[in-house]
Symmetry: C2
Subunit: 445 residues, 2 copies
């Protein structure tokens, strides 16, 4: 049994920050959390700063990390950006995918992310053939997350069409299993471990027809798997869907049995009020990706309206123009302020819950996200003695954290009771920038 | 003469990053900038990373730093936030003001800010009496900037009324000189030095009547001073102005002779197309404060429309919810993307110019902002070997910097040829978080 002591901790629920907290861990689980322990037990490992549950990155396309800082010159839209993204996707093979994912997950680890939902659709070889090991690309991701020491839910993604009644284009062929039955057959060969869980995804209503969505939904239901889907990120998806089927993408998902309590709609930027009611009625949550929605010009989504309707929220860094869940959390609030020109739409703790338990529940790790006996021992320590957070008093520490902290303030990261980051450095991946640089250089001609 | 060598440098103009750059400095000026110098001269001081002109924070209310992370719970608007801000303003005296300004300017120095425009209106004692030294509060700011080693333009602010045809309230009394002639008399006692320049400001059309604005404008004209004014940050200012005078705040400024080439309109969030033409016609620039405009729910201003009209832009961290000029620069672009749902509105170098030469010109330091012979030797070095910028190649380094760098990546800061920050640590203020914490604790009951 190991004990950790922190002068401050947010336990993952409530609005308060606790003092003098001792977290006892046995194996990969928390066995007790005790507050107001004075003096700190001499046997405890001391964490200097504020301890909180590990951050959950509920929506990631790890290979998009190669595009950071490369697509911002000139004009364009989501769709022209997508062309640039496809060029990188076309160059991936299991080895380069592993190298980039490993470095990107290490960047996430340094940012305090202890679990990631990887929305994975580059599972076939260029042109669409299966690799000799049909899950070679998935295995590369599993190895990468294992190397980086973070938990992953592999949201293995069904992607069959290029649009409503549109075949896949040349670049998209490698995203497809041909049909949902073959997708299910491939996915069923993957097995969960203590750190890796297998989930499912429908890329979008553009990429999977209703009858094929039913197959995915049934598979997810049968296996009790998380099911994610991009939803209404762009207005044109709504328009095309209404033109093709006379209903919104959310309605199309609902009609195909894809909405449920284990379903997460990603973005939901252009969902209507009725769509939100529909999601809420099915117990479906929404994953917002605010820095990506800024980057891609998606627009400001109806996060507050969804929360008001009772929809749970999670957060993802998605395209990884930034990997900083604190920035995602405050962006949710700040972008709503820009939209409606008033302040204070979420309590700071609510924003942090979206970045922790909300995300973990969305990707199938409801046994993490809280500092509580019986939960997985996944927690981080954030330095609060920085120019950014200096001046925060205990009453405002949580607020200061949400609105002032940055990923680089994370000093210690513990996953399953084991420290993977200390003093802001990754234990097993010594040169994260170097690995990122080499992995990306290999993909960018 | 001192020489500095950097493997990479952006010289402050153009879109390119230069290689192997040697900057020769004599006294506080650059005497030469040479590119492609190989090998690096052994006598040169080596800067590891990307060197660029120092960042300019063109709009600061330093004491607002005490509010960071304290006003985000509950709802409210700009106006309820202002009440909280007034409580802090009421507690300031020359000593506490100095302590907070010194620590805040040190935070700016660490963030690579080499010059600040301090929009200063807390110049009288609570209740409105003059201090025995009428410029005691201004002197506190001058001492603070000098301690922190950064340049300052003291934008001494005329603030006479609580609104259109509304007297000052109890909290606002200390902002007022009584009338603009007395404001001018007080300001004229201040003198510029090599690091401190005296500028002028009209708080807003709400706070200074047209006839009094004329006095300030004439003073600024006579002294060749920068003249700043808050403009149309809130819709209600526009509405009240139109109701009172039948014209927009920008027109009111113009009619009072307050617009000109040395004038900067701060925010301009709710300026009309005609207002922008008016500003452009007078050669007036706009200072956007995107993180504050997010924080206060001001809305997304017409920065792109203004730039299209030919208006120069600068950036400020204003309320200091964040002190990170890279974040301000990218926020300008990203918030425009949210507004219009397309990408790529500014070239990365244009965003950086707003954060450097644009701001320096706005606050009266046109002799800084470029790495060029004859200019002030104010420059910074940004670490590019970080998880954030890893993977950027030379062609995309500037873009990666704008969209990926953070204030904490600044390693070296040189002002007037003298390093004030090395290895990310301030030379003369050893414990910036500690000073911030103590200064703020003294003001927050």
């Amino acid at each position: 049994m190991t004990e950790w002591y922190a002068p401050w901790a947010w336990l993952g629920t409530g609005d308060a920050v606790e003092r003098d907290v001792v977290i006892a861990v046995d194996g990969d689980r928390i066995v007790s959390v005790t507050t107001d322990v004075q003096p700190a037990p001499s046997r405890a490992r001391r964490l200097g700063g504020l301890v909180m549950p590990g951050l959950a990155n509920a929506h990631s396309h790890c290979f998009h990390r190669a595009l950071r800082g490369r697509t911002n010159s000139g004009g364009g839209t989501f769709w022209t950006w997508r062309d640039a993204m496809y060029v990188v996707a076309a160059r991936l093979d299991p080895d380069t995918f592993h190298a980039l994912a490993r470095a990107t997950y290490a960047e996430m680890a340094l940012a305090g992310i202890t679990a990631v939902g990887e929305f994975h659709y580059v599972h076939h070889a260029p042109g669409g053939d299966a690799y000799s090991n049909p899950n070679a690309m998935s295995d590369a991701l599993v190895a990468a997350a294992t190397d980086a020491g973070i938990r992953m839910t592999l949201l293995d993604t069904c992607y069959l069409a290029g649009g409503f009644d549109t075949p896949l284009d040349q670049m998209q062929l490698r995203f497809s299993d041909g049909d949902a039955d073959r997708w299910a057959e491939r996915v069923s060969a993957m097995t969960s471990t203590t750190e890796i869980r297998i989930g499912t995804a429908i890329h979008s209503v553009r990429a999977v027809s209703s009858d094929q969505m039913r197959v995915v939904s049934a598979y997810a239901e049968e296996h009790g798997s998380p099911l994610h889907a991009h939803l209404s990120e762009q207005r044109s998806e709504n328009l095309a869907c209404i033109q093709a089927f006379g209903c919104t993408p959310a309605q199309l998902l609902a009609d195909a049995g894809a909405l449920g309590e284990r379903t997460t709609a990603v973005h939901a930027t252009h969902c209507t009020t009725d769509d939100i009611s529909l999601l809420h009625g099915h117990g479906t949550s929404i994953c917002m990706c605010p820095t990506t929605e800024r980057d891609l010009g998606d627009g400001i989504g109806p996060a507050r309206a969804a929360a008001d309707a009772g929809v749970s929220l999670s957060l993802g860094s998605d395209g990884h123009s930034v990997i900083d869940l604190f920035e995602e959390a405050r962006a949710l609030e700040l972008d709503e302020r820009l939209r409606v020109e008033t302040r204070g739409h979420w309590a700071p703790a609510s924003l942090l819950r979206a970045a922790t338990s909300g995300g973990l529940t969305s990707i199938g790790w409801a046994d993490a996200g809280l500092l509580r006996a019986g939960k997985l021992a996944d927690f981080i320590c954030v330095d609060i003695d920085t120019p950014r957070l200096a001046g925060a008093d205990p009453e405002h520490l949580l607020e200061a954290l949400v609105f002032g902290a940055i990923a680089a303030d994370v000093r210690v990261v513990v996953v399953g009771g084991r420290a993977i980051v200390s003093e802001g450095r990754h234990h097993s991946i010594g040169d994260v920038p170097g690995e990122l640089g080499r992995a990306i250089a290999g993909l960018i001609a």
